[in-house]
């Protein structure tokens, strides 16, 4: 039954009837996944508003374009690979290939940490070049975007760390498999966010 059909129902009619489809949930997915999708909507709103602010602020005359550190390209590749390995891990969990699941999960965690370290190096490069946040809004947005994105990744890494710990103790746990799948979704999303932020930084 479509959402529109549900909202067109006349509840004052047909008391006693069950719709035959209703099993306590509106959408056919686990609550954890629904919760994650809602969280992603919130984070989307958060980053879109940052992006709009960036675009508005970039039109002011004091804006100075900045040449982003080239290490950001390498960081981006690390994040892409982390996302790929997490999806690999989720697929392996679904097929009960536990060794592959654990190894790819560890690789994804390592690549994500490498991404964070790379971002830190980019900060140092910017600071060494004298591009301080108070110097120009373009620099300030660079620090702001990378920091806020890294904070979201750090939050995700906490869950990945928990998953890694569980893979060592009880790798057959179905809840673990579901969690890896959620982590993969979150990583794909953060990769998309980073692509948007990186594009904005490069284009202004």
């Amino acid at each position: 039954m479509s959402l529109l059909d549900r909202l067109m129902a006349k509840p004052w009619e047909h008391a006693g009837e069950m719709d035959g489809m209703h099993g306590g949930n509106t959408v056919g997915r686990p609550p954890g996944k629904t919760g994650l999708y809602i969280l992603l909507a919130v984070i989307t709103s958060f980053f879109l508003l940052f992006s709009v602010s960036h675009q508005m602020r970039a039109t002011y005359p004091d804006w100075k374009a900045v040449a982003e550190p080239s290490i950001l390209w390498g960081n981006t590749v690390a994040l892409i690979l982390a996302s790929v390995f997490l999806q690999w891990s989720a697929n392996a969990a679904r097929k009960n290939r536990l060794t592959v699941m654990r190894n790819t999960l560890l690789l994804a965690a390592g690549l994500s940490l490498a991404f964070m370290a790379g971002q830190w190096l980019a900060w140092r490069e910017m600071l060494a070049a004298g591009f301080y946040a108070q110097g120009n809004p373009a620099y300030a947005f660079f620090y702001l975007f990378t920091a806020v994105h890294a904070l979201h990744l750090l939050g995700g890494l906490w869950f990945v760390g928990r998953a890694v710990r569980t893979t060592l103790s009880s790798p057959e746990d179905e809840v673990l498999h579901a969690r890896i799948s959620l982590c993969a979704t979150y990583w794909h999303f953060l990769l998309g966010v980073w692509a948007l932020l990186f594009y904005l930084l490069l284009s202004s």
Partner: protein, 593 residues
């Protein structure tokens, strides 16, 4: 496959059964306890804001009499009063309090779907309140930037609280938003995923619809406040220029370089206007349920009410700049936002018509909750109509900086939701405690509050049309303000004191009735919705005993022709409905439409 409710599936069971006093009442994961924690904290911090408003009123009413409040303290009181009332009281109480208590009970769930996160939500909210209150005790005191925190003045020398005050305010707001997001994820997911069998979306009570939609608005709108808070914090602490323009301050050139204060205004109001509906939509939903129960009549136009809630939710995201007509915006921009503002009045007015039509020929019981319902309808119409004035650019321009705005805003966003909150507490207190609130004290409280608040805010409209400017510490010898305006201001202050003292009646009733109130039984109002059908009152942990309820009908089967009693609970199967002798009613379809 046999139906198994989410709350009853394997690993979900006994996940958070309280084992001790601490896990039952302090680190509780039970939605009812969390609701009470949220409510008590919100009311406590709301009382602080009430005291601040009295300090302001004493200054305004008797400017030459009191010397305990300086101009700086006046602005600090304004700022803290506004922010606390809008965010830390109304939002927290209506969503954290009512949302937590009502959603699982009204949709037939055992608890929220993420109880641990729900608990965290409350504790982070409490932390945000403590951080905010800490600003009273730092050097320079809390920020006096006005509740909208507009830069540049919010972080410029000369504004009170530019040291620790503004920083603590912004950090507190960020914490509040984190808390709200954790709670909000729970409310939305619980409504979508944890309803009991038979509880289709269109059988949900309108309270749930209101809270559900308001939560979605909050989840999408609060990020705008977070974004603006983070960037303003960086401007204040690090010295960036996101919002701060290049300017001369106290004769010295500032270090900022051409930021955009208007950008802050856009971000703030992109949150700020949906915030009006984040407060209003739960109130609309609750009023719909209260009016139906106490008029013993099904809600008029249920489906229209649901659609109106959803429409208001969507349109509320495209009206924000009507708060910025005086910012020098492009006239076409103003025209667009004036148009959307008038459009949003349509679904809002539909709701008012439907409440009135529900009352029409209803079997109206003038209980205390019903008194508050009627008070709300009057007040909301009042505030809504003055909103039409302010929604139009040409009328708003001269009125924007006057007392007219204070009158309008407090009617629609202050008195109206507070009347709903009081009505709701009188209505659901028996379910929460198992006892009735004292009826005579309740009536006294209602009349004092209603007449008192009208004595405060109706004259403000007149003062506004007279041109009395808002935000002023004292009017001084301003030529165009007659002495009679000052006399009226003094009268308003006396009324404000009267209303504040009247709330002691309510507080006394709240605590006295907890022990001495008349036992209520499980369903004193003979209501149909699920929360009144719990096996125990107050409901115990898990809400429903061994079996989850099954829902057979909507929540508004009141005075159904042919039925022997004037209400049919949602859990009553058609074959179990007692019918009048000689009636051919089979318990299935009432003549509702």
């Amino acid at each position: 496959m046999a139906y198994v409710a989410i709350a009853d599936r394997d690993h979900e069971q006994h996940l958070h059964d309280p084992q001790s006093f601490v896990t039952k009442y302090i680190w509780s994961q039970d939605h009812k306890v969390i609701a009470i924690q949220y409510s008590l904290t919100a009311i406590a911090v709301g009382l602080v804001a009430l005291v601040l408003s009295l300090a302001m009123r004493l200054q305004l009413g008797f400017p030459d009499t009191f010397s305990f409040i300086t101009p700086d303290e006046y602005y600090q009181a304004i700022t803290m009063h506004g922010m606390i009332m809008v965010v830390y009281l109304l939002t927290a109480l209506l969503l954290g309090g009512f949302g937590n208590y009502l959603i699982p009970l009204m949709v037939g769930a055992r608890d929220m779907v993420f109880p641990y996160m729900n608990m965290l939500s409350y504790w982070v909210y409490l932390l945000s309140v403590l951080v905010l209150c800490a600003s009273f005790f730092v050097s320079g005191g809390p920020t006096g930037a006005g509740w909208t925190l507009y830069p540049p003045q919010s972080i410029l020398a000369g504004t009170p609280g530019i040291g620790g005050g503004i920083v603590l305010m912004l950090v507190s707001l960020a914490l509040f938003i984190v808390a709200f997001t954790m709670g909000g994820l729970n409310y939305v997911t619980t409504v979508l995923q944890a309803r009991c069998r038979g509880m289709t979306m269109m059988r949900m009570p309108l309270s749930v619809w209101g809270i559900f939609t308001a939560t979605i608005l909050g989840l999408l709108a609060f990020p705008a406040l977070l974004v603006s808070a983070i960037m303003l914090l960086l401007d204040a602490v690090v010295g960036t220029s996101f919002f701060m323009p290049a300017l001369l301050s106290m004769g010295e050139e500032s270090e900022h370089t051409g930021g955009s204060p208007i950008l802050f205004q856009h971000l703030f109001w992109f949150f700020g206007h949906p915030e009006v509906y984040i407060v209003a939509l739960p109130a609309f939903g609750v009023i719909s349920d209260l009016v139906s129960v106490h008029a013993r009549k099904n809600i008029f136009g249920y489906r229209m009410m649901v659609w109106a809630i959803l429409s208001i939710g969507v349109i509320s995201f495209v009206v924000w700049a009507h708060h910025m007509y005086v910012s020098g915006m492009n006239p076409y921009f103003g025209f667009f936002f004036a148009t959307t503002t008038l459009i949003i009045a349509i679904p809002t007015a539909l709701k008012v018509y439907n409440w009135v039509l529900t009352l029409w020929r209803g079997n109206i019981h003038l209980t205390v909750p019903m008194l508050f319902v009627i008070g709300f309808i009057f007040t909301f119409i009042n505030g809504g109509i003055t909103g039409l004035f302010l929604g139009n650019v040409a009328v708003d321009m001269p009125l924007s900086d006057t007392y007219f705005v204070i009158g309008h805003f407090h009617m629609v966003m202050g008195v109206s939701p507070i009347l709903v909150i009081f009505g709701s507490i009188y209505h659901w207190y028996p379910k929460i405690t198992g006892r009735m609130l004292d009826d005579r004290l309740g009536r006294l409280h209602f009349w004092c509050t209603l007449f008192g608040t009208y004595a405060i805010y109706l004259p403000m409209h007149y003062l506004g049309i007279l041109g009395l400017p808002r935000r002023y510490y004292a009017m001084g010898d301003t030529a165009f303000i007659p002495d009679s305006a000052q006399a009226m201001n003094a009268g308003i202050s006396i009324a404000a004191l009267f209303v504040a003292v009247s709330q002691l009646i309510f507080l006394f009733n709240l605590f006295w009735s907890r022990k001495h109130g008349k036992p209520s039984g499980g369903n004193p109002w003979k209501a149909t919705s699920l929360e009144w059908q719990t096996p125990q009152t107050p409901p115990v942990h898990g809400n429903w005993g061994p079996e989850l309820p099954v829902v057979y009908r909507w929540a508004y089967d009141y005075s159904v022709p042919g039925a022997a009693q004037d209400y049919i609970p949602q859990t009553m199967a058609p074959e179990d409905v007692p019918t009048e002798q000689g009636s051919d009613y089979d318990g299935r379809e009432g003549e509702h439409d």
